[in-house]
Symmetry: C2
Subunit: 230 residues, 2 copies
DNA sequence: CGCCCTTCGATTGTCTAACAAGTACACATG
DNA sequence: CATGTGTACTTGTTAGACAATCGAAGGGCG
């Protein structure tokens, strides 16, 4: 018997499936989810569907007011800035602390190798190893709550990504090179420099994401002068 | 009739009341909360009580496994270290960023004035302005998600505090002096120094809290040599 | 006499059915 | 055209019920 993976709770299973469908883009931003709708598609009672929805609301993936239908959250440019700034706050401090002990997480190294190995032109293939690079750094400090917080942010980032999907915002080679440089700075114990580079790294991604969503990009979207082609 | 507290949702109201009772120490660590129990005390149906409990579980104030009764979380020494380290991660980076713009939040200044004005010997009176000092710093960066994360940590800190209540772990004057120094360092644009002092400040509180809970305190519990009396 | 197994009570997970209350949108009216 | 009304849809909450599971108490066996 290898098939017993039933997550012991129906509402957890439904919540997990809904989450997957949201991240896959099956349920796009603004998509409405009525309780009866969820109940009928999964063939469960309405209270069960309700509980699943409320779970995702608590996670920040769904939005809902009293007596109003739940909808997949719509993240605007200001939300993207909020999310990416929060990422920068958590991650830059993590880099400083890792640099103190010159601790280069193996998972991050491997994730960046995977990015380098990518030859496919599919732009969303870089998302997974990219996220893995960053979460590996976060997890390396071994703090349960920090990891949980960051994971919540990653969920929202993925939510942004599915909206953009088609166009690739950044050059894979540049991402990989900057990651590599960050790891080197950690190994050299230069936390401040690593944090500064990360700020640039995330700031550029952030502003390009913002402009791709229709907002007006800030100056961070541009490459630094010493990296401009030609 | 002034007692109708029905905010908008019964489950929110019950959750809020349970939260208050937990923070007041009325429901101590390890206290069990059965669904029928909550349902009968608030005179609501069991599903409503269940929803309230699950809300607090999502907040991290209650703990429960499948088919097991919910209990108020019991935070051990390792959890305290995890929480305070997470605080330090968030807050030290915030100090660095505030120092860049030399932005000294008025709320933090006021909170520290309130600490200085305390003449009462009641040890738990310092908790409120102390927390307000720290949350003012966090809120000053204007990031919704960072503020939310920190508030979640504050909830857990308060949970620790109610367990210790009686004995005062630190001198009020020392707390106030260190807060003052942190603000001065922000104003001087010395983010690194501010972050370093904060690490000491939180580290000392953390290790004293740990030892008060029966764990073995680390070296951070001691005062730095230049502040030792005599 | 102590240990393992069974049984039983308590508790939670889930369902069905139903009513109340609120929202949103179409429709009729001025 | 603006406004009020009403109706359908959706959610909030309740009641009662049954199955599954967990924890502890009690009995059988070595």
């Amino acid at each position: 018997m290898a098939g017993r993976i039933t997550a012991v709770s129906i509402v957890d299973a439904i919540a997990a499936d809904l989450r997957a469908r949201i991240f896959s883009g099956d349920l796009g931003s603004g998509h409405t989810l009525t309780e009866t709708d969820v109940a009928s598609t999964y063939e469960v009672a309405r209270p069960t569907a309700k509980a699943s929805i409320e779970k995702l609301v608590a996670e920040g993936l769904l939005d809902r007011g009293t007596h109003k239908t739940a909808r997949v959250v719509e993240l605007g440019p200001d939300s993207v800035r909020d999310i990416y700034l929060a990422r920068a706050y958590l991650e830059s401090e993590v880099l400083r602390r890792l640099a103190r002990t010159k601790d280069v997480p193996e998972g991050a190294v491997q994730a960046n190798r995977d990015i380098a190995a990518l030859q496919t032109g599919a732009p969303l293939d870089v998302i997974e190893p990219d996220m893995r690079f960053h979460t590996s750094l976060i997890d390396a400090v071994g703090n349960e709550r920090i990891s949980r917080m960051y994971r919540s942010l990653v969920g929202e980032v993925k939510l942004c990504m599915v909206r953009i999907q088609s166009l690739h915002l950044l050059d894979t080679a540049l991402i990989q090179a900057e990651h590599q440089r960050i790891l080197e700075l950690i190994e050299a114990g230069q936390g401040d420099a690593a944090a500064e580079l990360l700020d640039e790294h995330l700031g550029r991604a952030r502003e390009r994401l913002v402009s791709a969503m229709g907002g007006t990009a800030g100056p961070e979207a541009d490459l630094p002068s010493d990296l401009l082609p030609e």
